[in-house]
Symmetry: C2
Subunit: 250 residues, 2 copies
């Protein structure tokens, strides 16, 4: 059971950041590798809360379903992210939402009880979790803010800018890492709205064909996203400060 994992899977995982190798090994020994096919379910809302997961490869979509069946994407977790953290310290006995692999994915699964215990005993681990949660919280706050303050086209623009910054994409030429359906859901809009608003982004110098994106003029897109500039014609130097649209990932 110990060392099921390709050690490279454990590089640069924020949860383990700065932890002595011995600690990491001990933790990992208590985990178990799970592999998922694209579309496979990790857990569903109401399942007994048994494990939390560290994503070492692929992408996991977390979502809730409204009573009418509409799916609301809560978050997308990729390599290095943790799924289920916020469940650990709440008195939940079941998962509060669904998680599904949207790509071929590899997760490390840890029994909740054991992971919680590890956090209690290892203060460095606890600090890492605090840093992760703080960061997630700030992102959630910004996402909610954008939901009420920006229109669909601007949210998409923000998303693209953030993608470039996060993954060090070349703005002139990159591929969307998720399906448009997934992105639309994550941005809190319908797929049709997403599709239609891609045209509006053309005015901001963004071309999207299939999953290929070309941002011809970064600065123009930044101004487009920041309403102030579009109305006043002025410059927009502090977008990242204002909206976190291109802020760096921990």
């Amino acid at each position: 059971m110990q060392r099921d994992f390709d050690p490279t899977l454990l590089k640069d995982i924020p949860v383990f950041h700065d932890l002595p190798p011995g600690d990491v090994d001990a933790l990992v020994a208590g985990g178990k590798r799970h592999d998922y096919a694209k579309g496979e379910t990790v857990f569903i809302h109401g399942d007994p809360l048994s494990r939390i997961y560290i994503v070492t490869d692929g992408a996991i979509r977390q979502f809730r379903e409204t009573p009418e069946g509409k799916e609301i994407t809560i978050g997308l977790a990729i390599r290095g992210d943790v799924v289920g953290t916020t469940h650990v310290f709440e008195p939940f006995t079941s998962y509060q939402w669904n998680a599904q692999a949207i790509e071929v994915s590899t997760l490390l699964a840890f029994p909740v009880r054991q992971f919680k215990q590890a956090i209690k005993e290892n203060s460095k681990l606890a600090l890492n979790m605090l840093a992760i949660l703080s960061h997630d919280m700030n992102r959630a706050t910004m996402d909610a803010e954008q939901l009420v303050s920006m229109n669909a086209a601007q949210r998409i623009g923000c998303f693209l800018l953030r993608l470039c910054s996060l993954y060090h994409f070349n703005p002139e030429h990159f591929e969307l890492p998720y399906s448009k359906t997934t992105i639309a859901s994550k941005l809190g809009m319908e797929l049709e709205t997403f599709s239609r608003n891609l045209k509006k982004l053309k005015d901001a110098g963004v071309e999207i064909k299939g999953s290929h994106v070309a941002i011809h003029d970064l600065h123009r897109l930044e101004c487009f996203v920041c309403n102030h500039c579009s109305t006043s014609g002025g410059d927009c130097q502090s977008l990242s400060e204002l909206h976190g649209g291109i802020r760096e990932h921990g």
Copy 2:
């Protein structure tokens, strides 16, 4: 400096939960009591990040301003809540939003550096912070979810239900703890929209006159909030599970 505080101010503060009294005293000795008048500013976006605050009395509104000047309420902090936590573990050097007292308020202010150090040295304190952040994160997630899945009237209904649960109000007869303007902003809608939708809540058996609220039929309001029931005519037993509308505060 030590013991500026009425000791009752320190009862039931989640940050200090289960901490040995000695630890609490030591922590509090490093803090400073700040009092604010209604409307007074605690800090503004861009101020150097110097302190985090524990609310021991009153209410603090945290908000950002869009470039056009619209204010977006990020959260309302009341007795026991912490303001600025998510700043501590991020590489910010300035506050990322504004904080303002919306009532006469008392805060305990702690220098960020010192508070961070305390968390590093006191693992129980770290666990408390983890619990708080987890809880806030779950709330933020639910708020964002409601923003995209419910209409204005339903969000207001949810808010009222949550109020009753949180403060143990009698649904038949209670007063809004915040101004309608504040509530509307917190729910991500305009004051006019809020005002208009109060009428729609009448259909769900809710009467609001001034700041006085009377929910005549809890169950009907819960069904109103949960679209499933309104369309299918069915019962709605698991609202709290579904939407957190009436979930308990840590």
